[in-house]
Amino acid sequence: MRRWLSRQAHLIDFTLGALLRRKGRNLMMLAVYTLIIFMLASVTFLGSALRFEAKAALNYAPEVTVQNLIMGRHALSPPDWVKKLSRIRGARNIHGRLWGYFYDQAVGANYTLMVPPPRARDLAVNLGEVIIGHAIADLRKVRQGGYLFLLSPSGKLFKLKVIRILPEDSALLSADLVLISETDYRAFFNLTPEDGYTDIALTVRNSNEIPTVVNKITRILPTARVITREDILRTYENVFSWREGIVLAMLATALVAFAIFAFDKASGLSAEERREIGILKAVGWETSDVIAMKLWEGGLISAFAFIFGAAAAYAHVFLFDASLLAPVLKGWAVLYPDFSLTPVVDRLQLITLAFITIIPFTIATLVPVWKAAITDPDIVMR
């Protein structure tokens, strides 16, 4: 065992020397390889982190949302629906929600205006008060205690005191959020209590009963659209997967180019390398030693590229907020959810990434080495 370890140490020592001897070629290979890993890992890390954020944020979302549809389009839900839904056994915390979008012409951004749910006491706002997402605070340069001025669609100016700014860690859903009281909301959009609510939210006592409750709702309110939290999660999942897919498709060209480059560089043994292999075999190295040495060489390049690429991607996504990919993967509005992502790495994706990059590269180096290593070493004598 000690001899085997010593032998491996000699092989690694020689391999490191060989890498340094051809440092120009190897550094170029390492740089391109690292860049590819960086791009792939960035997309993967960002996708995973966004899914995690979405899931975390939706933990606070109602289990079931009921929306009124008129001619297939979302319309206000009548106030008596709350009473009708209250009769369903197992349904709890039934309340009408008021939310909508508002385009702020002053800054050219869309806000989500919302009345906080009655049970969210930490988000409670009184008449003339507002809680805003940090992106709006940054955009409008408003601080806690300051005033937010909003021009309603009817042209009336609203002066709202900012009592709180929502933290960045929940910014995926709250970056563009404006929480105001029900009275202010109805006044802002010219709605009366008889107009009803944007939709109705409820929770279910036993989560296994959600499908049953959904069935009951559709029976009581046949024109309603019923959305569960699972549906929303699935939608987020699809949106992020779709965005991720688009980016990966764009990267596919770069990947193919890399594959050709890597195969060309890794598989093409120079005359100098062939001569070296001949010398090593002639002086007593076994075919397996030569192959092991080349495996170490390919493995070291790909492992370093993977570590550097993955570390750079981690820093890019979690320290620099994925500044290169945010417009593609994060943004869906003028107001980007500018938030720090929780460092979440999907191990399976990372392992898959390692496999689809390290193994093909190592194999690409192995085939020509195998061919050279099984040749009689008398090549050095000729």
Binding site: A282, V283, G284, T287, I374, D378, V380
Partner: protein
């Protein structure tokens, strides 16, 4: 002793450009002697040397090392025999560029798994013996011809082989370095090493250290001359 029985080597066998490099050669090479294979270019001496040194296999025939049939050994065992038994000095020395003299000398012993410290000490001692103590950390491409030659000899000796095989070792050396090489061969012979040299350099096969001269042409052996016996006879004649 190394014994060759009807050894033939065909390069590119089965192809239109096939060449019979060694043709039905039978030969015995004694231990602890200096044997020179001589002949013009293309006579097959280097190919014969590669077959003796287990660098290639004969197309036909058998090669024995003492009582061991080495020409039929599987690749792995053949490599082991090569590492254990033979030390090679190549034409142009074939040192690996970018490695120091010391690292080049250590190279053949890497597969043995000997500890780095012990190996380094042994390689350094060898280089010191050949007067290269001050140059052992120099990159091989920066060494002079004579220094490179001595590094190549040190590399051939690192695994303490019984046989030294040298292929045209003086092809690119001046007279002083040829004399130095001959002296080094003399010292190795004295130390009990068996030496086989291919050369068409008369300075080598006229050297008094040489015991046997095998002359080759077109893959055949033309003659085997026991020079030491001849010299002894001449000495006797002169004394008489």
């Amino acid at each position: 002793m190394i014994r060759l029985e009807h050894v033939t080597r065909i390069h590119n066998e089965g192809r239109p450009n096939a060449v019979v490099a060694v043709n039905d050669v039978s030969l015995e090479i004694p231990k602890e002697r200096v044997t020179v294979l001589r002949g013009p270019s293309g006579s097959g001496k280097t190919t014969l040397l590669t077959l003796i040194g287990c660098l290639a296999r004969p197309t036909q025939g058998r090669i024995w090392l003492d009582d061991e049939l080495i020409s039929a050994l599987p690749e792995r065992f053949m490599t082991e025999v090569r590492r254990r038994t033979f030390g090679f000095i190549f034409q142009r020395f074939n040192l690996i560029r970018g490695l120091s003299a010391l690292e080049n000398v250590m190279l053949p012993a890497y597969p043995t798994g000997e500890s780095h410290a012990a190996l380094k000490a042994r390689a350094a001692a060898l280089l010191e013996r050949f007067g290269l103590k001050a140059r052992m950390h120099e990159k091989s491409e920066l060494l002079s011809g004579g220094e490179a030659q001595r590094v190549a000899i040190a590399r051939a000796l690192i695994n303490d082989p019984a046989w030294i095989i040298a292929d045209e070792p003086t092809a690119s050396l001046d007279t002083a370095l040829v004399d130095q090489f001959i002296e080094e061969m003399r010292a190795l012979k004295k130390a009990g090493k068996s030496i086989i040299i291919t050369s068409h350099d008369p300075r080598i096969w006229q050297a008094d250290v040489v015991d046997r001269i095998v002359t080759m042409q077109d893959g055949h052996i033309l003659s085997v001359e026991d020079v030491s016996a001849r010299e002894r006879a001449e000495e006797k004649e002169q004394n008489a």
